[in-house]
Every structure is written in C-alpha cells, then in structure tokens.
Symmetry: C2
Subunit: 408 residues, 2 copies
C-alpha cells in the first residue's frame, strides 16, 4: 500500500491570514487548525469519538508524559499511539522540551547528552537527548514530529536567550539527522529567541537552512503579554516560508488565536478549553462564563442556545452549576466537550471568513468581544507587576490559574 505523503498547501489568502490544507495518510487537516491536547494519551474527560465529532482533525500528545507513563514500550507493542488510545486522527507530538522546563525537576542541560531531569511523578532520573526524543516519537508513530528544543521562560537577559536559541538550533539539526527521511510524516523545527527580534530572525534563518516540513514558534505564551507576543509575530511573519505550515505552540485564548491568524499562523494547541472545562469555565461567542457563579442557579438557558452538537443545548446553566458544585464528573465532561466544540466553531468561522475575504472584519468584531474576558487578567497582572514585583514574578509562573481565579 502506498501511503499518502505529508504535504501542505496554502489555499486562500486574506492579507497575512491564510487557509491551507495539510495532507497526511491518516487524514487531512484544514488550517488554521486547533489541536486539542491529549497529554497522557487521552484528551481529558472526552471520548476520542466525540473529539472527531467536534470537527477536530488532529490532536496533540506529549512525549514527556508518555515516556514517563505508560512508557513508550507499552505503546510500541500495540503499533503506536493511534492504536493505543484508539485515535483515528493524525497526531502531533511535542518533543518533551517544554515539559522538562515547566514540570520536571531539571537537573542539567548538557549540550551533548541532552536534558537531565527528574520525573514529576516519582522523581526518577531521565536523560532526554534530541535523538531519544525522535526515537520515542517514532515509536509513538506520530504524524507530525517536533524537534527537541530548549524552551526558556520569559527573560530579559539577551545573552542567555541567545545561547539557548543556539543550543536549540544544534538540537534541531541533530533531531533532523535522527528523523532521517520519511515523506509520510512531517518534522517541524521550533523557532526560539524570546522577545528579541534579531534572535528570532536568526533562529528562523538557521532552521530554514536545515529545512523542515513546518515551522513552530516556541518560547511564547510563557509569561509575556498578548501585545508582546503579537509584536513578535508581526515582526517575523515576513521571514517564515510561505509554503510551510506555521504553528504557534501552546496558544491560546480565542483572542490570541484571532490575533495570531491575522499574523499568518496556521496551527494552534492549548490546554485552555480542556482545563477550563474541568474548572467550570465555558467559552462562548458572548464571552466567557464561570458556571460556578451563583447567579446561574436561576438561569435555565443553555451555554449556547444555537449549539446543535451532542445535545449540549439540553443542559441548562442551572444544571451545570449544580453539577460543578457537587463535583460531578459529568460537569467536566459536558464543559470540556462544549469548550472544544466552541474552539472548533471558532476555527471554522475563521477559515470561512478568510475564504470570503472578510477575516479582518470578523477579527475586529470578535477580538474585543472575546478578548475582553481575558484582557482583564493581563491588566491586573500588569498592575500587580508595577506594584509588587516579586508577587508578579510568582504569578507569571501560573498564567492559567490567573484565568481561573479572576472571574469578573
């Protein structure tokens, strides 16, 4: 059987925004695309069959989490992650770099050996090299493989960010060599360089020399403001190859996505719709809803009266409020499904507006509507930063918690 080759084509353009099609032998992916996150071989609290019904065409999973539990050997023995988790969709796996920095207890970064770290689960020591990351991702049989990178937190020390970026380039080269030649899969490079435009530009240039099937932007959504992130995107959009997919890693809120699509991004992943679903936060076209708020005890309307999927409009806010207040699993199930469904509705609308040439109008209408409900968090964080620096530093480490706790 001859497998379909991995490919990408831009279809429509509306200024910098574009729609496209990634083809893989497991299915096509319309871009701009949002990838639900299936950290440990499951998108938390959702059946994989329902993920497909939301219109998701690809999911993301995590090398770091899967190498710890269940271990790649248990996945290899059944033929890969698709078989293991019963997933018919293409899967993109990250390389482990980001989680090693954010979750594990990092012992040392060794240029040659890789990242030496202790598992956040049981403290066991692991070494992850670019080669080992690619070996694991091959074992998982991922359709899109990410190079191993070093992903520093937001930092103003240019020397440090430059060194980190250069290490990532070296590892990207080793990742590419280890990946070899496989036309049925995609290997993506990861652009680093923090908020420094010249470093970002240099990173892109070197990655293009190595040559990848797609280019991801790493080291964003790590504590900077939305404006800072957009400034980076504005600046580098002209350097990224036109004919390759562009993936903004770990982003983001609906407004982040709108703004990034405007700046030419094709792919996104984020835990926000799933994690928020488990903590009572629902995304809607009218803004966000904290379903635990007591005002919903008397609200017998659904989250979205126009939603026709999964009978979701048969569940009232009153009922969902009760389910959350009694810690029922069904609460997480319904809200997670609702949120992923909303994100895919958003992506569908984004694509159709680009096609019609009306994306900028759509962007301007919703960037404020969908932006507002998270802008307040950035506003408060910035205010706090000015007043109490150290506390802000602490807050920076937990960007999502802020989203949950400041329910205005």
């Amino acid at each position: 059987m001859s497998l379909k080759k991995f490919s990408f084509n831009v279809i429509d353009k509306d200024k910098y925004s574009r729609t496209g099609l990634i083809e893989t032998h497991r299915g096509d992916i319309q871009t701009p695309a949002f990838m639900p996150v299936g950290t440990q071989g499951t998108v938390k609290a959702v059946f994989i069959d329902d993920i497909i019904k939301t219109g998701s065409e690809i999911i993301l999973s995590n090398t770091y989490h899967l190498m710890l539990r269940p271990g790649v050997d248990r996945i290899i023995q059944v033929g890969g992650l698709h078989q293991f988790m019963n997933c018919k969709l293409p899967i993109l796996t990250d390389s482990g770099g980001f989680q090693i920095m954010s979750l594990a207890k990092l012992n040392k970064i060794d240029r040659e050996k890789g990242a030496i770290f202790k598992s956040h689960v049981d403290g066991k020591e692991f070494i992850l090299s670019p080669e080992e990351s690619i070996r694991i991702q091959k074992g998982l049989n991922s359709d899109i493989v990410m190079v191993m990178d070093e992903c520093p937190k937001k930092n103003n020390d240019k020397k440090l960010i430059k060194e980190s970026m250069e290490l990532s380039i070296y590892w990207a080269e080793r990742s590419k060599n280890s990946f070899g030649n496989n036309p049925h899969k995609g290997l993506f490079g990861i652009v680093q360089g923090g908020l420094f435009k010249d470093l970002r530009k240099e990173s892109i240039k070197k990655l293009i020399e190595i040559e990848f099937d797609g280019y991801a932007l790493g080291g964003l959504a790590v504590g900077e403001t939305q404006n800072e992130m957009f400034e980076v995107l504005d600046d580098i959009k002209k350097y990224l190859p036109e004919n390759k997919p562009r993936y903004l890693m770990g982003v983001g809120t609906p407004s982040d996505i709108l703004g990034a699509v405007k700046r030419g991004i094709d792919m996104f992943d984020c835990v926000l719709p799933t994690r928020s679903g488990r903590t009572g936060l629902a995304f809607t076209w009218e803004g966000r809803i904290n379903i635990k708020n007591s005002k919903y005890q008397k609200d017998n309307l659904p989250l979205d009266k126009n939603c026709t999927n999964f009978n979701l409009k048969n569940y009232s806010k009153n009922y969902l409020n009760h389910l959350f207040n009694t810690n029922e699993i069904l609460a997480s199930m319904i809200l997670t499904l609702h949120n992923i469904n909303f994100y895919q509705e958003l992506m569908k609308s984004i694509r159709s507006n680009i096609k019609k040439g009306t994306f900028n109008k759509f962007h301007d209408h919703y960037i404020n509507k969908l932006w507002y409900f998270l802008n307040i968090d950035y506003f408060l964080k910035n205010t706090i930063r000015t007043i109490v620096g150290p506390l802000a530093q602490l807050l920076e480490q937990f960007p999502f918690n802020i989203v949950y706790t400041l329910n205005i």
Copy 2:
C-alpha cells in the same frame, strides 16, 4: 393530552421467575429491570443519552441528595427532575429513608415529626416526614415514588426490628394519604422486617391492606450474606401479590440479581456498576476484572471482545490500565459505561431466557461463574467475623469497599 396510566403486567413465567412490562407515560420498562443510580441528578460519569443506548429504560435518583443539593426548588422551577437533568427516561426516586440512616448524622426518629438529621454535606439540620418526602418526590415529578420508611441495619434484636417495621407501616400509610390519587404515577410500599420471616409476612400483609402499585423489599443488602437474603426472598415470594412489580432495593451483584430473579423479583438498583467503574472494577461474562492489576499492562484485548456498543471493544486492557494509573477521567467514563452496558446485557439475557423457559439453566450456569468473583468477599468476611468479631462488625458497615479492596 391524556397521559398513559401507570400499569404493570406479567408476560412470561418460568417457575417463580417472570418477565413483565411496566407502562408509564414516559416509556415502557421491561422487567426484570436494572435501574442505574443517578444519585445527585446524574448517573456519575455517563451522559444520559448513553444511558439510554445501554438499554436502560428507567433510572433511580435520590430524594435525600437532591433535597440537600441543589434543593427541590431549583428542580421544581424547571418542571421537574427530567427537565433538570435532561432525562427522557422514567425516574424512580427513593424516599430518603435509607440515606438518612446510612449517610446523614441521624439525631432522632420521631414517630410523628419524622427523621431529624444533619446533612452530611454541611451539618445543617433537616426534618424529613413522610409527607415532606412525598412533597419533594412530587416536586421532582418522579414516575415511581417510594414511601418513606425506616431502614435499620442488620440486627438480631427482634423487638427493635418489629418496632421499626411498624413505624414504617405507619409512615407508609401517611405516605399513601399524602400521595393521593394519581393514576399516571406509581407509589411503592416498602417491606421491612429484617431477617425475621413472620415480621416480613406481617409487613407485606399490612402494606397490601393499604394497597400500593408495587412492593419493594427494603432492609436487605445491609450486611447480611447472600444466602440470608435469598432465604428471606424464598420465604416471602408466596405472599407478594402476583400482579404488582417487586423491587429489591439496593441489590446487587450479578449473582445477587440472578438469584433474586429466580425468586420472583422484577426490579433492581445498585451503585455497584457505576461505583466499581470509577474504582477500576469491570464486570464481564467471564467474571470480574480489576483493571489496575499490573498483569493487564501487556493485555491488548478489550474487556469484552463481543461488545459492539460505544466502540468499547476498541479500548484495550493495557490502555485502560494506563488511564486508571494516571487518574484520567476517561478511565471512569469508559468503565462505568462498560459496566452499565454489561448489567443491561445481563438483564436482557435474563428476560430472553425466562421467555424461552430456560432461565433455570441460565441461572445455574452463571450463578457460579458470576457468583464466584464476589463469593470470595463473603467468604473472607465470614472468616474474619469468626476470628475477629469487632473488625467484622466494622467491615459490615462498608460492604462495597470490601468488594474493591479484595481484588483476588
């Protein structure tokens, strides 16, 4: 619109076993029937639409839990529990009696006022009288309403059990008066009397005089052995009216159900399939499986390779073991669905075997197969009882926990 009246007819008989049909204006219920338990207005970890697809034709919900949270008023304002939880199936609600004894901090039983107790959620004091229980169940708009009873734990003190039974008869009478005349709903009386045959007989006689639409057996599955329970059923089966449904409350394991159907029981409810599903215990035709056992790490077969519902056979034991070991919500979702699906397959097989006149053969084949895996628990409990009486007393109070922890 003229609503269909509540009715029951026996259809097939195979010795004492029988199939029948309960008709309600919300749908028919084939008996013997198993009712999944939806304690707080949700069958835990399952979408209500999926409950229907398992073949469940009625669910049970709890007056006690719903009166505490969300409170009956929030349910009344939307027209009842069906609307509140988006349930198209008929609903049976218990009266609250059992939970007051088992969960709440009971302060006092007052013959006239009712049960005075403190909520297990926040310690708030409540009084539940027979009239209040019926008022709440009317507010919930239950299709089958249970009388309020006093449900003592297993006890050898005959005087105490007799007094309790007589109080339950007095409350049953008051429940009936309060229920009034409603041909579209069923009101069930509850037989008490512990393990004392003459008290059970007296309880039945008095309930028949009051006249109910169905007769439930309470005060079983409260710490006695399966044999003790079967002896009670053997003895009282001749006294129960032929033309009314018979409901064995809170029962049970697959083998409990087989043995009870053999003795003429029509209806069952139990948290076992759902609660076990959340703790890693799967019911299958080959016996029970503790999916957390490390031997399943290499078992790439599904729980039941013949199961065609919900794509359940696409999930391997290897994968389910991983999901449980990483505390993934999907683990509870899949196993709960599997278990309810198994229970409904069991009920379907029971009904078809009664119809064909082969129930006894079916019973004898499976009572050992399905019995064995729980018999060991009773065996161990009885052994422990002989050796360390006080510890056994303690164990008696947590019959389900024993099931989980002794995974042989």
